[in-house]
């Protein structure tokens, strides 16, 4: 069993629109998706969301404000799961609510140092 990192990317700068009810429904979808991974005993760490505010430090000590890559590819959060293979981990990523918002989930195996 190995740990895998899910990196959630999307255009997080455009503030989430919608009524409080719609926001609530979105939260429930995230919780249901995380809950379904946990119900399979595959959740290592729920992880966290990342604020869209940030800075980048570059080699000559210059500091720039974000965004850091393509605005659509902003990292919005991460989760850790465990699986037998990268394919199983990717299977777990299916149903992630970010996909319905036009975002994507990057699945990476964690190499323990």
């Amino acid at each position: 069993m190995k740990d895998y990192l899910f990196v959630f990317r999307n255009d997080f700068t455009s503030a989430p629109s919608g009524s409080p009810e719609e926001m609530q429904a979105m939260t429930q979808k995230w919780m249901d998706w995380i809950g379904s991974i946990a119900a399979k005993n595959k959740l290592t760490d729920r992880g966290n969301a990342l604020s869209s505010v940030g800075k980048v430090l570059r080699p000559d000590n210059t500091i720039t404000n974000g965004p850091y890559t393509e605005i659509k590819e902003l990292i919005g959060g991460y989760t850790l799961v465990n699986a037998e293979s990268i394919d199983e981990a990717t299977e777990l990523a299916k149903g992630c609510p970010i996909l319905s918002l036009g975002g994507n989930v990057e699945v990476r195996e964690i190499r323990v140092m």
Partner: protein
């Protein structure tokens, strides 16, 4: 109260008090001496009361006899000189006069301190429960054996080994200090939770015994709430959970001792007073920043006290299970979460999820699948129930599953 009922009744309420106070006085190495003195006290009562009549204040009589027996023991036993005397001197900070304090406050303190001593992570959970039942609840060895569905020898051995371990570890009968209290309390709560479940979910046919186990778990949890240092949100959440569950005690078993499933229960038999108590302690639990698994389970149990199925009810239960599984995975929670999912989002969605749970060797999994396929694909439903029947062990489980198969069979003909 009739005389023949009085002694067993007093045994239930007073034996544990005397034992706890004497254990605290003698130290963890001499639990047996404390138990023996308490037992001898009741033996004397059963021998003399039928002839001399019941004393005016039976409990006070027992306390006096226990005190005298303890003092006599301390005077004549040479072991006392070597081992117990220094311990007592230590406990009473140097005074020579032996004080045996059976005041209400000292009894409560002694019981709480014994609870912490017994719920020690160095001994297995089963042994912790056994010792708690023996010393803090005054259960007989045969009752404990009955509760664990085993025989007296097994329990005697288990308790003996546990006492030996506590002796070797030199466990002190004292309150944990402030820095330790949360981690120590966690073990205590786990043991009380297991003790309650032992009564609530046991396949034991002895309904009175099962109820007693639940009541004892609640009494000990309540003892923690009565003490300022241990009156924590998680403790209140645990008691709330116990109140909600036990509110259904009268409704979940029929006259023949058979299980009545939640949806078939007569909700008029649900105990409203216990439901209100559960709500009271749930409110008291709503403090601080930490959500324990007891909070989440109490939340789930709260929604179960509302019988009518609504989207809101099952959505709330589903979300609590989502959170619970993130704190601690268990197959039962995974299955219950999937059931809640079927109620909140429909059976089809739940079937897809259930198939990925990887719990195919459990009768509970196949019972759930049987339930989910009912009215969607009844033949699949029957297949799953039949598999469940193969995996089921207890007679109660088997009879519930058989009835489901029977109902589905007649459903098909109609």
């Amino acid at each position: 109260m009739e005389q023949e009922d009085l002694i067993p009744h007093l045994f239930r309420t007073e034996y544990r008090k005397i034992t706890a106070v004497l254990c605290k006085l003698f130290g963890i190495s001499h639990i047996e001496i404390a138990e023996d003195i308490a037992s001898d006290t009741f033996l004397l009562a059963s021998e003399t009361w039928p002839f001399k009549g019941i004393p005016e204040n039976p409990a006070a009589w027992l306390y006096t006899v226990a005190k005298n027996k303890a003092k006599d023991y301390l005077k004549r036993d040479s072991l006392f000189e070597q081992k117990i005397a220094p311990q007592i001197t230590y406990n009473t900070s140097g005074t020579q006069e032996i004080e045996i304090d059976l005041s209400e406050q000292n009894i409560v303190d002694a019981q709480l301190q014994m609870l912490f001593a017994v719920c020690n992570p160095t001994i297995p959970a089963e042994a912790q429960i056994g010792l708690a039942l023996r010393i803090l609840c005054g259960f007989g060895i045969d009752e404990i054996a009955d509760a664990f569905l085993t025989n007296k020898e097994v329990i005697n051995k288990r308790l003996f080994r546990a006492k030996e371990k506590l002796r070797i570890e030199k466990v002190k009968i004292e309150f944990p200090n402030d820095s330790e209290i949360n981690s120590r309390l966690e073990t205590v709560l786990t043991t009380l939770y297991l003790l309650f479940n032992e009564g609530y979910y046991s396949s034991n046919q002895n309904v009175t015994l099962r109820k007693d186990l639940c009541l004892e778990a609640m009494r000990l949890t309540h003892l923690l709430i009565g003490n300022r240092a241990t009156d924590k949100p998680a403790v209140n959440a645990l008691l709330s959970l116990m109140c909600f569950h036990s509110s259904r005690f009268e409704a979940r078993v029929n006259k023949n001792g058979e299980t009545i499933l939640y949806q078939d229960q007569d909700k008029n038999l649900w105990n409203k007073e216990l439901i209100m108590k559960g709500e009271y302690f749930l409110n008291r639990a709503a403090h601080g920043k930490q959500i324990s698994k007891y909070h989440l389970e109490a939340g789930i149990a709260y929604w179960h006290t509302i019988k009518t199925d609504t989207k809101e009810k099952w959505e709330n239960i589903l979300q609590f299970y989502n959170q619970l599984l993130q704190i601690e995975y268990s197959p039962i929670a995974a299955l219950n979460r999937t059931y809640a999912l079927s109620k909140a989002n429909g059976k089809t969605a739940a079937i897809i999820e259930a198939e990925k749970l990887n719990l195919n060797n459990s009768h509970l999994f196949h019972s759930l699948m049987g339930e989910l396929y009912t009215e969607i694909d009844n033949s699949k439903s029957i297949d799953h129930y039949k598999t469940a029947l193969k995996f089921a062990k207890s007679a109660a489980d088997k009879s519930v599953i058989s009835e489901k198969i029977l109902a589905l069979g007649s459903f098909k003909i109609n």
